[in-house]
Point group: C2
Chain length 288, copies 2
């Protein structure tokens, strides 16, 4: 009944004797509670959010549906609590996915010194500080036989601002090689940019909807939270943006989440630029 | 011909044998170049900005006019280079002033470890990290005989988010006591909120204009830069917002200044809330 999801692009993975998320065939995602404060805080967030009447419906759709928690027995026989969520990709065939951790700062002001030091190091070594976000995972569907383009985690971790721009372009390109190779490739063709990033229902438009909410909401601060981009290759790519990973959400206490908002605006600017450059290229306004 | 400006609310002050800014009677402000990289970088910024044709006129008005540099002899006889700028308040009578340092982070990613450690400590101890900005200076004109309300620097340095909200309210209030006392005061009356923060030419409207530019511009990153709010008590308060202090401006390299933008959005939200609360109070929608 349960199986290991094959679409995960970031985070812990289940293995022999190792806890990791599971999915069932009814479209639910079972995420093992993280140890200590982290796990309980993620549950607290889902409980608070799902019962919060201040959340507009057009914003609620960006969040996975929460179905509660459940103690589950791992293959090792050990029992462990899990959060039950909507499996965001169960209805999709071979979706392309990108996981982007938002915020120049992944630590809350109230976190422990040890944790802050650890996060600050990662934030400075990645593009979090420079861009206000960093890539955590990426896979792009190429074709039934070729499978996916999927760069190694280590490659993404070391990515600088220009690499991130390139990954954002590859996400909407068709001329990729399968596997994790990327050195020898030609310039990403951005052939899907209009249908995935652009348009009324595209990713940019969804990000702008989120931005408007983040300019106003002072209930939650989403530290170390990710945006998940999804789409399918085909007639209707059906692009979708979701927020995931709420183990470090804090109360907003009347202050907007300027850290998330800043990173979101920076990402919006990168995507807008890719869209307008592709248009200019098509219209002959810039050189290939 | 030169005198010490009497309107400074933050930064270094000239004194016996000590360098500090000077003003002349033609409306120019002479700021001693800071030592080392800081001083040369501030000059570089003014030179780059004043010759930059990409800056819209409606944005340029937020910056002091730059008149070049000049070697000047201090009272001690020592020569020192100065930046010559527009004296922003020379045309005003008893202006109320607030200096707000924008950004959760006052350090550029390229700064030295020592400098980053120093800044991070200040950012965490103040409201920079929590609010995305901190108060650096404040004086509110009360009346010709009573003079100014002017909290001690130390009080502002220690201010938490609620104190900052209160200072933002006091800036547009008339029921203040002169000097630096603030403990015994009654709730700020926000009597000037509509004419200073509100309206088509008010501070909120100017901040929104700046925000639109920061969502787009990728030329400069304004670390440790301040917004200066000014107005005069009277028939036309003539509220004005300026950007000042550019010793830590870095090239944007195609990335928006998400750090400044986030802090600016957070400040905009605080000011919008003060405006709407005052309206609700006037309309009897909330209790005093």
């Amino acid at each position: 009944m349960f199986k290991i999801p094959d679409h995960q692009v970031a985070g812990h993975v289940a293995g022999a004797g190792k806890l990791g998320p599971l999915v069932d065939d009814s479209g639910r995602f079972y995420k093992p509670l993280q140890d200590g404060k982290r796990g309980t805080e993620e549950v607290s967030f889902y409980e608070s959010f799902s019962s919060n009447t201040q959340i507009p419906e057009k914003i609620r759709k960006f969040f996975p549906i929460f179905y509660g928690t459940k103690i589950m027995k791992a293959s090792t026989g050990i029992e462990h609590p899990h959060i039950i969520l909507q499996d965001l990709v169960s209805s999709r065939l071979s979706p392309s996915l990108m996981d982007i951790k938002i915020g120049a700062r992944t630590w809350a002001p109230e976190a422990s010194e040890e944790y802050i030091t650890k996060c600050l190091k990662k934030d400075r070594e990645s593009t979090s500080v420079s861009l206000g976000y960093r890539l955590s995972g990426l896979r792009v569907f190429i074709g039934d036989e070729l499978g996916f383009y999927k760069p190694e985690r280590d490659v993404m971790r070391k990515a600088g601002p220009d690499d991130v721009r390139l990954f954002l372009m590859k996400f909407v390109s068709s001329n990729l090689e399968s596997g994790s190779e990327s050195e020898s490739e030609s310039k990403p063709d951005c052939s899907l940019v209009a249908s995935v990033y652009g348009g009324d229902n595209g990713i940019l438009s969804q990000l702008l909807e989120l931005k408007a909410w983040f300019e106003d909401q002072t209930m939650y601060h989403f530290y170390a939270c990710s945006l998940l981009f999804m789409f399918e290759k085909g007639l209707t790519s059906n692009p979708e943006v979701k927020l995931i990973d709420f183990a470090h959400v804090e109360e907003g206490k009347g202050v907007i989440d300027h850290n998330f908002l800043g990173g979101l605006c920076s990402l919006i600017k990168f995507i807008s630029k890719i869209l307008s450059d592709t248009n200019d290229l098509k219209n002959g306004l810039i050189e290939p």
